[in-house]
Amino acid sequence: MTTTTPASPPSPPAPARRQLNPRSIAIWSAVAVAGAIAWGVLALSRGEEINAIWLVVAAIASYAIAYRFYARFIVRKVLKVDDTRATPAERLDNGIDYQPTDRRILVGHHFAAIAGAGPLVGPVLAAQMGYLPGTMWIIFGVIFAGAVQDMVILFFSMRRNGKSLGQMARDEIGTVGGIAALIAVFSIMIILLAVLALVVVNALAKSPWGTFSIAMTIPIALFMGFYLRTLRPGRVLETTAIGVGLLLLAIVAGGWVQESSLADTFTLSPKALTIGLIIYGFFASVLPVWMLLAPRDYLSTFMKVGTIALLAVGVIIAAPSLQTEAVTDFASTGTGPVFSGQLFPFVFIIIACGALSGFHSLISSGTTPKMIQKESQVRLVGYGAMLMESFVAVMALIAACILEPGLYYAMNAPAGLLGSTVESASSAVANLGFTISPQDLSAAAAEVEEQTLVARTGGAPTLAVGMSEIFSSVLGGSGLKAFWYHFAIMFEALFILTTVDAGTRVGRFMLQDTLGNIWKPIGRVSWKPGLWATSAVVVLAWGYFLYTGVTNPLGGINQLFPLFGIANQLLAAVALAVATTILVKSGRLKWAWVTAVPLAWDATVTLTASWQKVFSDKPAIGFFAQRDRYADALDRGEVLAPAKNLDDMRAVVTNSTVDGVLSALFAILVVIVIANAAWVCYKAIRAREPLPTTEAPYVKSNIVAPAGLFPTAEEKRELAAASSSGERT
């Protein structure tokens, strides 16, 4: 239980100020010089081809310096972590959710929970602006905003026994902030699920190979589920090994199916896939976890970590050159086909995961704070895991930027613009100012054994082509390109489907919880009719957006992805506002800039983007301008391209209205939360006495454990001393 006590925690012993020895000065100087050179090459080269290795070097050097210096500064000066203080995992250890967990395991758990398809999709779309804006935002965004948010929320939640972000918003900012946070969480969840499902639909449409392999994951997961449940309970490693073997077989078999008479059965239209996904989402979320979700989780975690590691190794060995310009014209004209709008604010909206992702604050205030052994480990688990995710985003950006720009636009512009043939796509790409011949476009599709690559939006196919390019140059040559392409599609679709299942459950749980206040039975998680009804509501909610996305003549990704970015950044604003309020209330006004500056930036970006999405008079950007344009034409009985008939026209009008209203709603929520937080901060600054804290009281810790990944010499001595005196380690 948390008790409210005056703010007088025993001040932690001042950490001994260790002087930097000459060796570490030399190492850190070398890292800084390497980073500076890499950044210089990226920023100053124009017109010549840049090797992707420079991106990797710039990223890693920047991360290392940020982790060593900035994160350490925050941990020591701002958060004032205290390793003599017992964490909730130690105090409340129940062997179930509260459990002190080795930091190396916990960082793996946390990384697996935060990193999904987001960091893979956003950077691919943002490559439209060139490689430089995306790279800079991914790296500087994570250092000063994203990783800070994850770590600070993890720390504050840990000090409050693992409270959720919503609870903290209610406790620290007030009821209004709390309700706004709740609405934000629910709506981002719905939009997120719709966008992710849309990525899968676009990746699988008209691809019998991909559709067959992904469909096979269902029986494979069911088999694993029963195997784990009845034959070999708890033997996760062995089950996963069998599952991964079957998964690889399913990818290979997809190629055979594509060549066989079964190909037509697995060639599905986007609409058919949408209905299939909605039905799947419903049944997956009402089945017991052990049957489908748990085994899928094992498979997708393995594939995720394995493939990302493979990609990192592949980029370093293959050392491909970037084909994209550093900054394209679309950055200033705002007329890019992938998403509309100028560099500011839209790059910062499109790339959320990997730079700053509000969603992470839900993980940082959920399971992870209940498992941390030592307070100082928030740096490794919170900041470190987010740096890893950022690196994944850099990898995805590289994979998109090594493609010929002509191919990139032929794959990522909406179908309405490109038409359906390679000839129409080729001439549309030429209109954009890039070149790809119809023959090259057909050849690119033939290489990965897909019917077509035209308008395969959503990021996944682009990433898969980039990855197959990298992997096949390291292993197997061009003969394996098709395998690697479908391997990459499988890898992405697999964990998107896991997220769809898990996300539907979380949305349902929130809905049950909220509705349970009005009508008791619906709140009971074991009451089946309530479970089915709330599951159906959640599935239909994201299913609606998915369907509008699939059928939208203007392109679903083009229309929905900015909305997803805005929702995600809105949640980040809530999280950073909570963190800033806590810093101010606990008398740390001096350090409040650590979260207040990212908050100000995030609010500027989100509000500017929402403003443009609502009020811009350019139909390509403003949802209402777009609505008016199509509604006026509809009144006159005209059909505007890319709509093909009056039904299309009506669909555009409805979608633009819904999306415009949502953008406005998100902006209003941000303003409410920030205004409320500012008022609370103002009161805290004016108050003579320090405000009561909501931290759990101090209890002395008996656990001895290192702070970082590798124990220091001093920590090794402490560990040895503790184990000889029989203390817990």
Binding site: A112, L237, V289
Partner: protein, 60 residues
């Protein structure tokens, strides 16, 4: 070499939760030595079924 393999195995067992039962047994023997121990099957069923009632999200 053998040590590295053992470390990898330890890491994977811990990460996937395969080692949870061992932790449970150790903890149970330490705290409640007089009470009966769940079998592996019972324990794993409890552990998975708990997730039915406490869903956790993974991110985007």
């Amino acid at each position: 070499m053998r040590r590295a393999l053992a470390a990898v195995r330890w890491y994977l067992r811990e990460l996937t939760g395969e080692a949870e039962y061992d932790h449970y047994v150790e903890r149970h023997r330490r705290l409640h030595p007089d009470q009966p121990l769940m079998t592996r099957r019972e324990f794993e069923h409890c552990r998975t079924d708990r997730r039915d009632e406490n869903p956790t999200a993974s991110c985007c």
